[in-house]
Symmetry: C2
Subunit: 267 residues, 2 copies
């Protein structure tokens, strides 16, 4: 990456930094993430500061929490078998998707969009088959989202604050699609210690809230900024610091980003 030092004659402007935490090893079930991250920070000479927001790729949190499932352990039920046929998917994967979901939102050949029990709408209930160790046939694995990502973020934040003495935020990031737009962007699925939704006067919210208030999703914005350097090599840079945001530690969760069902016009 290019040098981000100020050039000769240039003053340092106000703003944010988005910093990769290098040297995070492959994560296995049972790993202590705060300890692994602290080792990575120390090795890189990075010191957590008040207001830093530590962004963690969902995959490493899921792996550490043992959310890897062998598809050979899964027996698809009749609904999964029927849905798998309709969407050209592995019935065992579809069974897992249904177990993780509260609602099937859209289907067509090749497409299965559901509402995850956490309220997240997307393909495959966030279940990931990439970048995880898997073989062929009976040895295939799928990685589920963390059981409770907001709780995971709070726990990781607590351990890192205790280790560093800094007041930080933690965001667990995933990628997300939009129906009318190509390409994924970042999404915060677990948060602790940050302002998640930011009320702003002078605008209107869309899709059901006629308010003279614009609600800005800062959690997703932080997650998306982090994925700019996380995105291409998730396995190599799964931990990123967003530095320079105002310290604004509140007890908001990623769950608060879920639009109430009666306002969701995609349903």
């Amino acid at each position: 990456m290019p040098n981000t030092e100020p050039r000769h004659g240039e003053t340092r402007a106000e703003g944010l930094q988005v910093l990769a935490v290098p040297g995070i090893p492959m994560i296995e079930a049972g790993d202590n993430l705060p300890e692994t991250i602290t080792r990575g920070l120390n090795a890189a000479g990075l010191i957590l500061q008040d207001g830093d927001v530590l962004c963690l790729a969902q995959k490493i949190v899921s792996k550490a929490e043992g959310q890897l499932v062998a598809l050979s352990d899964i027996s698809p039920g009749p609904e999964a078998i029927e849905l798998a046929e309709r969407t050209d998917k592995d019935p065992r994967l579809v069974e897992l998707i249904l177990r993780e979901s509260t609602e099937v939102v859209r289907t067509k050949p090749g497409v299965l969009i559901v509402r995850h029990r956490l309220g997240l709408v997307g393909a495959h209930a966030g279940i990931d088959q990439s970048n995880i160790p898997h073989g062929e046939g009976e040895d295939e694995y799928a990685l589920l989202l963390p059981e409770d990502p907001d709780a995971s973020a709070a726990k990781i934040r607590g351990a890192l604050e205790a280790a560093s003495g800094a007041r930080i935020g933690v965001v667990i990031t995933d990628s997300s699609n939009r129906p009318w737009r190509l390409g994924t962007i970042g999404c915060a699925i677990g948060c602790s210690g940050i302002r998640v939704l930011d009320d702003q006067c002078g605008g209107t919210d869309l899709f059901g809230r006629e308010l003279k208030v614009t609600l800005i999703n800062r959690a997703d914005a932080i997650a998306t900024a982090a994925t700019l350097i996380m995105g291409e090599t998730t396995e190599m840079t799964p931990v990123v610091i967003v530095r320079g945001l105002p310290l604004d530690q509140v007890d908001e969760t990623a769950a608060s980003c879920i639009r109430p069902l009666d306002e969701d016009m995609f349903r």
Copy 2:
């Protein structure tokens, strides 16, 4: 904002910087934005570097291009009058929204979601009534999106590259909603000189593309990162530099982010 200098004993890590360009004045129709931005950069001692992506809030581009419309000049037709009644909106505003749109996507009292002629799906065809000079009744104004934001971005980029000698990208940013999630995030409505969509192996796209490729929307991610410091005071910080991305100047446009209609499951 907090100091982003490295602390004593901390090495400078690799990553991105998101920098506000201070001192941009209120923009009026006919203003030369590249000249205004160059003055702001010079006053702040900021020097554009190869690979910098300059993010501009849509509002200043629209204003400079004279996209402010007096509602008193608008005579709503029968369709606008009917739709205004159904959605509790000003019929003149609805007339403008219809003129800017190719399709009404969702309506309910207080809600009017359309597909803008540029392909963007959202409330009010991106028309903004906040943060613009307006009075009451007959003196109300609405600000339309730029006529061709990709062309605007290319023109601004050309002028700034000529003035600075640096090879840069330009992104015109707006905010955008999602049906199932609260809070706006950033969205790139005009781009020049950046990689907009980034093909990545090892995943699947959703909503209709069964590929072993994950498509990352880097343009929206850059726009969203910029809005982290642009968001709260759009009028005060409408220009932001995202620095540290790999220089990857290609002829991609924001228009390439529009999902083909037959894949848009929101319709």
